[in-house]
C-alpha cells in the first residue's frame, strides 16, 4: 500500500513545486473576516465535488464496476434543488428532495448491474445520457438561478475553510470509518477480487453491489449541490460535465485498479488533489485552458503505462529463451 501511494505523493509535490517556482506567493494563505484565502484553499474548494464523487467511485470500482452516470446525477440534483427553491420552496426541503431522487437513480443503476447483470459501463451509460435529459425536463431547458443564502453556503460558504471541502472530508472520514470498522470494506474487496468465490462463501454480492451504486449516486448528488450552489444556478447541460472522467482518473491515480479488489481511500484523496492542482496549475502559470485536457491526457497515459501488465509481461517473456 505504501508503495502504491508513493508516486501520487511525488506527483502532487512536483505539481505544487512547479507552481511555487512560477508564482512565489502560491503557498501564501491569509485570514480575512474569519475565512482563509489563497491558491491552496481554492484548490481544496474547487476539488471538493471531484473528491466526493471519486469516493463513491472508489467503492464502485472496488467491486469491479464503474459509474459513468455521476455527472448527470449531479446535474439532476442541482436542477431539482434550484427548481424547488425558485418556485418558493425551502432550501433544506429542496436538497432533501434532490438526495431522495438521486438515491432512487442509484437504485436503478444497482438494479441494472446486480440483478440484471448488465455490464456496469453499459448500465450506467444509460443514465449518463438520459440523466441530462431528465435534468433538462426538470429545468424546462432554462438555466435556473436562485438567491437563497442557506443554499449558497453548501458550495460557496466558509467555516474558516470552505464548507464544500469540509463536507467532502467528512464523507471521506465517514466512509473510512464505516468500511473499516464494519465488515463492508472486506466484503466489497472480496466481491471485487473474486465474485465466484465470494458467492460460494455466502457473501450477499448483490446487496453489496447495489449498496455501492446507491452510495455513488448520493455522493454525486451532494457534489451536484456544491456545484450548483457555488454559482447559485442550475445548468442542466454543463453542471458536472465530464466530472465522471475526473473522478475515475482520481481513483486510478490513487492506486485502485479498474480490475477491482483492493482500494485506497487515501489514494483517491491524493488523486483528486492532483487533478484539481493540475487544472489550477494550468491557470496560474498562464496557459490557455485548452491545454488542461492535454495535461490530463499525459497523466492518464503515464498512469496507464505504469499499470499495464502486458508491457511488463512482454519484456519478461523476451528474456526467457528456449534452452539450446
Amino acid at each position: 500500500m505504501k508503495n502504491r501511494l508513493l508516486w501520487p505523493v511525488v506527483a502532487l509535490v512536483a505539481l505544487l513545486m512547479l507552481n511555487v517556482v512560477v508564482t512565489p506567493s502560491f503557498f501564501s494563505v491569509r485570514l480575512q473576516d474569519g475565512h482563509l484565502y489563497g491558491s491552496l484553499i481554492d484548490i481544496l474548494r474547487n476539488g471538493a465535488p471531484t473528491l466526493l464523487i471519486a469516493l463513491g467511485m472508489t467503492l464502485v470500482i472496488a467491486t469491479r464496476g464503474i459509474d459513468l452516470s455521476v455527472g448527470a446525477v449531479a446535474a439532476i440534483a442541482g436542477a431539482v434543488t434550484c427548481t424547488h427553491i425558485a418556485s418558493g420552496g425551502n432550501a433544506w426541503v429542496a436538497m432533501g428532495l434532490a438526495l431522495a431522487l438521486c438515491a432512487v437513480l442509484g437504485l436503478w443503476n444497482g438494479f441494472l448491474v446486480s440483478v440484471l447483470g448488465i455490464q456496469p459501463i453499459i448500465a450506467t451509460l444509460v443514465l449518463m445520457t438520459a440523466g441530462r435529459g431528465i435534468a433538462m425536463l426538470i429545468t424546462e431547458g432554462q438555466i435556473i438561478t436562485v438567491n437563497d443564502d442557506s443554499y449558497r453556503q453548501v458550495g460557496a460558504g466558509f467555516l474558516v475553510l470552505p464548507i464544500a471541502i469540509l463536507i467532502s472530508l467528512a464523507v471521506l472520514g465517514l466512509v473510512a470509518l464505516v468500511t473499516r470498522r464494519t465488515a463492508l470494506g472486506l466484503l466489497i474487496e472480496s466481491v471485487g477480487v473474486n465474485p465466484s468465490a465470494s458467492r460460494l462463501a455466502g457473501v450477499r454480492a448483490r446487496t453489496i453491489i447495489w449498496t455501492v451504486y446507491v452510495f455513488a449516486a448520493l455522493c454525486a448528488a451532494v457534489a451536484g449541490l456544491m456545484i450548483s450552489s457555488n454559482v447559485s444556478a442550475a445548468d442542466a447541460n454543463n453542471a458536472g460535465l465530464w466530472i465522471e472522467m475526473d473522478a475515475i482518473l482520481a481513483v486510478v491515480i490513487g492506486g485502485t485498479s479498474l480490475a477491482g479488489g483492493r482500494y485506497s481511500l487515501t489514494g483517491t484523496l491524493l488523486g483528486a488533489l492532483i487533478i484539481q492542482t493540475l487544472t489550477t496549475t494550468v491557470y496560474t502559470i498562464g496557459i490557455a485552458p485548452e491545454i488542461t485536457l492535454v495535461f490530463k491526457a499525459i497523466v492518464v497515459i503515464a498512469v496507464c503505462l505504469m499499470q499495464a501488465p502486458v508491457g511488463i509481461r512482454v519484456r519478461v517473456r523476451g528474456k526467457q529463451g528456449v534452452p539450446a
Binding site: 470498522r181 464494519t182 465488515a183 463492508l184 472486506l186 466484503l187 474487496e189 472480496s190 477480487v193 473474486n194 465466484s196 468465490a197 465470494s198 458467492r199 460460494l200 462463501a201 455466502g202 457473501v203 450477499r204 453489496i208 479488489g261 483492493r262 526467457q320 528456449v322 534452452p323
Partner: protein
C-alpha cells in the same frame, strides 16, 4: 513402422512453483488417431501447448517431421502444419463460413478479396470433410456442432499434417459425435496424424488407435488401444501409489442419524436425478472420472448450481434450493475443486480469507471482532499447520496445499453440519494431503458428516465409510463397508469388462 511425425523427448515444462510436465516422451505417427489420457492436472493441455508453442519448454526436444523445432507461437506451429481446435469454438460468429475458414489467407484478385474464389475454395474444403452447408451463410446461424466442424475445416485448410482436437466432443450429442468421428476417420485415412483429448472412455475406445497416459505431469505409458483394457486404463490414469501415507484408523462406532437426505435431486444436462443419504459422523466418498457428475452432485447439494428436480433435507428440515446462502444457513459447507476461481480471494490476507464465510453469515454490519478473528486464525494456523504462519500475508502467495488448508479452515470456523470437499487434495504435496485426510477423519469422529470427492481412488476408499460411484452423469452404485479399490474401479470403468457385473452384484449384495 513409419517415422513419427511428432517426436517429443524428455519434455519438462515449469510454471512458477509447479512442475507441470516432467520428462515426458510422446510420439505421434501419420495416419493414426492418438488419444491423450489423464485426469485434471495430469498435463494433457500443457503437453499440447508445449507442442504448439504456447508454453516454453524447460528441457527436452521436439522433432517434427524429422527436424528439430521450437515454435515460439501457435501461429508458427500452424504454419508448419500443426493445427489445433480447442474446446470452445474460437471463430468469428458474425462472419460467413467461407470467411472463417479462410480468415487471414483469403484468395486475392488485384489486391482485393476475391469473394467468388473464396466461396469456391471453402466449398472444396467443406466437401473434403463431407460437410454440406452453404459457405456464404453466417457462421452463427449454425449449431455449435457444425461450427466445431467448420473449425476443423479451417484447421485442415492449411494442409495440416497434425490435427490436435482438445475435447472437441464435450458439447456435442451422440449423432454429432458420430459425424465428427466420421470426419476424423476421413482425415486419418488421408495420412493426417490426429491427437485427440477427451474424458469420455467410450469415445477413446471407439476412435483411437493408440494412447498416451499422463498422471501428475509424468508419462505413465504409451499403449495400443486394443491391448489396454478399460480397467487398466483407469488404473493407469488414477494411479495406485500413495503407500507412503499412514493408514487412517477405521472408526468403530456406528454412524448416527441421517443428516442429509436428497431425493431425486437432479439438473438437466448436468446430472441425472439421484438419491443420497449422509449420516452424522460419516464420511461418504464420491468416486468417478472427470465429467462423470461427481462435482455436479456436490454443486447441487450446496446450491452452487440450482437443481431443477427433487428435494433436499438437512437435519429433517427441507432446504430451499435457491442458492449457496440457503445451504449455508442449513449448515452445509462446500469447498470447490477450483481453488483459484471459486475458492481463495487471492489478494486478501489469510485472516480475511479465513473469516470470510463466517463474516458473510453475520452480515456486513456485525464484523467479526478483531480479537476473535486473531484467535481463530491462530488456532487454525496451528491446527492445520498453515505455512508460513503469517495471518497478514496475501493468500495468493501461499502454496496450493496451504491455500487448501485456509479454505478448509474458512468452513470449519462456521461449524457446519455437513462438509462437502471437492478434490481437497488435488495438486498438493503428500504431507499436506495426509494432514487434510487426518482432519477429515477427526471431524467425522466428532460427529460431522463429510462428503469427500477425489480423483484418486485410493484416497476415496481410504477416508470413506461408504463410496458412491458416478458414471456418465448418473449414480451407478453405492458400496458400503470395506470397499476394495478394484471394485470401485470396475464400476467407474463401466461396460466392456468382465469385472463390472461382478462389481455391481457385490455392490448390491453389500
Amino acid at each position: 513402422m513409419t517415422e513419427p511425425v511428432v517426436d517429443m523427448r524428455g519434455i519438462s515444462v515449469e510454471f512458477p512453483g509447479v512442475k507441470a510436465l516432467q520428462e515426458v516422451d510422446f510420439r505421434l505417427f501419420p495416419g493414426e488417431v492418438h488419444a491423450l489420457m489423464g485426469e485434471n492436472g495430469a498435463g494433457k493441455s500443457t503437453l499440447i501447448k508445449a507442442l504448439t508453442g504456447v508454453h516454453r519448454i524447460a528441457a527436452g526436444e521436439v522433432r517434427y517431421a524429422g527436424e528439430r523445432v521450437s515454435f515460439s507461437a501457435p501461429a508458427e506451429a500452424q504454419a508448419a502444419g500443426i493445427s489445433t481446435v480447442y474446446q470452445e469454438v474460437n471463430l468469428c460468429g458474425n462472419l460467413t463460413v467461407a470467411e472463417n475458414i479462410l480468415l487471414g489467407r483469403e484468395p486475392r484478385k488485384l489486391g482485393r478479396i476475391d469473394g467468388k474464389a473464396m466461396r469456391a475454395r471453402a466449398a472444396e474444403l467443406l466437401a473434403r470433410i463431407g460437410l454440406h452447408i452453404d459457405p456464404g451463410s453466417v457462421l452463427e446461424s449454425h449449431p455449435i456442432a457444425v461450427q466445431q466442424l467448420v473449425a476443423i475445416a479451417r484447421a485442415v485448410a492449411v494442409d495440416a499434417r497434425v490435427l490436435v482436437l482438445d475435447e472437441p466432443t464435450s458439447s456435442l450429442d451422440a449423432d454429432e459425435v458420430a459425424e465428427l468421428f466420421r470426419i476424423i476417420r476421413v482425415l486419418r485415412d488421408e495420412g493426417v496424424a490426429v491427437l485427440f483429448v477427451t474424458h469420455f472412455l467410450e469415445q477413446v475406445y471407439e476412435i483411437s488407435d493408440r494412447m498416451t497416459v499422463l498422471r501428475n505431469g509424468r508419462l505413465v505409458g504409451e499403449h495400443m488401444t486394443a491391448a489396454l483394457s478399460r480397467i487398466d486404463l483407469v488404473s493407469a490414469m488414477l494411479g495406485r501409489e500413495m503407500g507412503v501415507l499412514e493408514e487412517i484408523e477405521r472408526r468403530s462406532g456406528t454412524p448416527g442419524e441421517p443428516l442429509l437426505v436428497a431425493e431425486g435431486l437432479g439438473r438437466k444436462g448436468s446430472v441425472a436425478p439421484f438419491d443420497l443419504e449422509i449420516r452424522k459422523g460419516e464420511v461418504v466418498g464420491l468416486a468417478g472420472l472427470l465429467g462423470s457428475g461427481r462435482t455436479e452432485v456436490a454443486r447441487l447439494l450446496f446450491g452452487a448450481d440450482k437443481a431443477d428436480s427433487g428435494r433436499l433435507l438437512v437435519d429433517g428440515k427441507q432446504v430451499r434450493l435457491t442458492g449457496p446462502r440457503a445451504a449455508i444457513e442449513a449448515g452445509v459447507a462446500f469447498s470447490s475443486e477450483d481453488r483459484k476461481a471459486e475458492g481463495i480471494v487471492a489478494d486478501l490476507s489469510v485472516r480475511d480469507n479465513l473469516i470470510l464465510a463466517m463474516q458473510a453469515a453475520r452480515g456486513w454490519a456485525r464484523p467479526v471482532p478483531r480479537k476473535l478473528a486473531d484467535e481463530l486464525v491462530a488456532k487454525y494456523i496451528e491446527l492445520l499447520d498453515i505455512r508460513p504462519a503469517d495471518p497478514d500475508r496475501a493468500v495468493g502467495n501461499l502454496s496450493g496445499g496451504n491455500q487448501q488448508k485456509v479454505l478448509l479452515a474458512r468452513w470449519l470456523v462456521t461449524q457446519p453440519k455437513l462438509l462437502i470437499l471437492d478434490e481437497p487434495t488435488r495438486g498438493i504435496d503428500v504431507g499436506a494431503k495426509a494432514q487434510i485426510q487426518k482432519v477429515v477423519a477427526d471431524l467425522a469422529a466428532e460427529g460431522m458428516a463429510v462428503l469427500f470427492i477425489s480423483a484418486e481412488l485410493e484416497e476415496v476408499v481410504r477416508v470413506s465409510d461408504r463410496v458412491v460411484v458416478m458414471r456418465d452423469r448418473q449414480k451407478v452404485a453405492e458400496l458400503d463397508g470395506e470397499v476394495g479399490v478394484d471394485d470401485v474401479m470396475a464400476l467407474i470403468a463401466g461396460g466392456g469388462d468382465h469385472g463390472v457385473d461382478q462389481g455391481v452384484e457385490k455392490a448390491v449384495a453389500s
